[in-house]
Subunit: 340 residues, 2 copies
DNA sequence: CCCTTATAATAAAACGCTTTCCTACCTCCT
DNA sequence: AGGAGGTAGGAAAGCGTTTTATTATAAGGG
């Protein structure tokens, strides 16, 4: 019932091979023949069957984006999806499609899902949250020569390719800015010790402090689980220390929300008593009071880079490990101010 | 080089037909034969080639999610992505994959992108933002018997299937709650007139007001573009009216942010002077001050429903138009309070 | 003017599955 | 004992493309 390349060939009075060449813009077809075939394709509103083409040419123009897509994730972490939008944008431009591979599958381990997807050759490449990169998955990818990009630097040394934000530099920026406004005792609201984003940011914090000749006090470094209530409590505790910090770095917006609340509840003023700088901007930020000074990264274009890099690896499988780190920028707003 | 069904058949000493039956859990294969084949598949780490299977069986176990995925969308509208997560979850459970079809394609109109995707039979079904449902797209879908679900009720009468939140009921809930706390003059911060979500919500607002025997004042109904600054200005203007409203309904969180700011800047107290109720909850809401009273819908499970419905339509193409509207719930928090 | 080389076009062989017969064999009635 | 009915398994025909030879035709070179 659906029309095929044969119908087009018959109607145009040529062979299917010629039609195929027209479809794929290959050489060895005369201009007027091409024209004739295109006319017929147009008339029949023909589009080649993707599965058949994939099978014959042995690739699918499809890329997998592997992550857990659980309920509420988009609220917790819209950043992840901005990256996805960037990837989708870039891939779409180049004629590729992006499929979501949900690793949050009941009864299956994430790496099993990944393995199955790779085996079935349903895609030409994989973009995967580095959280899921275990040595086993690494072996899988390497063993199958399966082109991939990790979102985030994997937690162990690997020859897999990855892209990430420059977390060390971000912390540097934050520290230097706070110090330039006159702060001297800086606190760091981090996340879990297992989360390498936070550990990277912490590392940057320590080196920046050292370079500025300031002491890093361990009681000013907080490891928070991703729960608003706990963050609020640890921020309150921090402010009730005998000598509380005069500047706080919040490593994500959740921490910023909790910390701001704690500061206000403690009767302190921002930025007069305590300065605050947060990571990752949000369109609502300028409308929130106080407007947070922010270290931001353009994640959409990080996604564009990821897509682009992966496509290059697909075209040239011999390509070596690729990495890319996006540069952060400082958005000056109301929670930091030069002190008297 | 990659191993095929032939390799498995040879190694297990059976025909490829039998292997295929094992793969697809079909009848007419003895238990011990099945076992033997499974062993070999396991040993060779075999997974059938998806394209070949798709071609042969004439469907792809792939679903398209069509929308514009532009930069910043996840921040503006994380809700959309919660729906996507729900769809992905449900489809994954049933062995389907979800592909993003980015309609934000340079040089191509959205409907062209949709048309091409449908023709190429790259997927078995389509989930599409109802914003893109024009009569032309409707004809396309109907003409090809292509199973689809619209996210949101289309703006014109159609026999396409859709799911949506019950916007009318949501407004009802909001109005009734505000009135029950003692408010009498209610304002409505809506979006663009072209956006049927807002128009639905507005319709619900009007009928609820009428049923409560209250007059709807036209100057209390605001149509905002999705820009924080403009919202802030129109909210300020609203509060500066000779007789300002004592309750405001904000049809999304962006409006809530802008409106709260305007109220505070006008020196008014929430909820003592002005009550406020917003649509769509956010995990940060409880940590924001004041904590907004909210009309919320579980969008993840709306997505689950969408996926489920689409799968049913695929299995049974003769199925008639399907619609589903999710029920809203009221989350009582700090921006509304019973008045003295 | 013949021989080589480039170009157009085609036939036919994959690509790796699913599925529809078809055969062989067994069991069960009557 | 003979036919009806059921099960296991296999041969082979697609599915709709791409691609590799291969042939026919035209163009250039000495």
């Amino acid at each position: 019932m659906p029309i095929t390349i044969h119908d087009i060939a018959r109607e145009a009075g040529v062979s299917i091979a010629t039609v195929s060449k027209v479809i794929n813009n290959k050489a060895h077809v005369a201009p007027d023949t091409r024209e004739k075939v295109l006319k017929v394709m147009e008339r029949f509103n023909y589009a080649p069957n993707a599965s058949a083409a994939n099978l014959a040419r042995r690739f699918s123009r499809n890329i997998l984006y592997a992550d857990r897509f659980y309920k509420g994730l988009p609220y917790e972490n819209p950043h992840m999806f901005d990256i996805i939008c960037g990837v989708s944008h870039e891939l779409g431009r180049k004629g590729y499609r992006l499929s979501l591979l949900n690793l949050d599958s009941p009864g299956k381990k994430p790496e099993e899902v990944v393995e199955e997807a790779i085996h079935s050759r349903v895609a030409d490449g994989l973009i995967i949250n580095s959280v899921f990169i275990t040595p086993k998955v690494e072996q899988l990818l390497l063993g199958y020569d399966f082109p991939q990009i990790c979102i985030g630097k994997p937690s162990f040394d690997t020859i897999l390719s990855w892209i990430d934000t420059n977390n060390t530099l971000s912390s540097n920026l934050a520290v230097e800015h706070l110090i330039s406004t006159g702060c001297r005792t800086l606190a760091f609201m981090g996340g879990r010790k297992e989360d390498c984003i936070f550990m990277d940011r912490l590392r940057g914090f320590r080196t920046a402090m050292e370079r500025c000749g300031l002491e890093t006090r361990e009681e000013y470094i907080i490891y928070n689980p991703p729960e608003v209530e706990t963050i609020f409590q640890s921020a309150t505790a921090l402010l009730n220390l005998p000598s509380p910090p005069d500047g706080i770095i919040c490593t994500n917006s959740l921490m910023a929300v909790g910390t701001v609340r704690a500061i206000k509840d403690s009767g302190l003023r921002i930025p007069e008593d305590v300065s605050l700088i947060a990571f990752d901007d949000h369109p609502y930020s300028p409308m929130v009071s106080p407007q947070p000074t922010v270290i931001d990264v353009d994640l959409f274009s990080l996604g564009v880079h990821a897509g682009n890099l992966l496509l290059k690896k697909i075209r040239n499988p011999a390509m070596l490990i690729q990495t890319y780190t996006a540069l952060p920028r400082l958005l000056l707003r109301g929670t930091t101010k030069v002190r008297a």
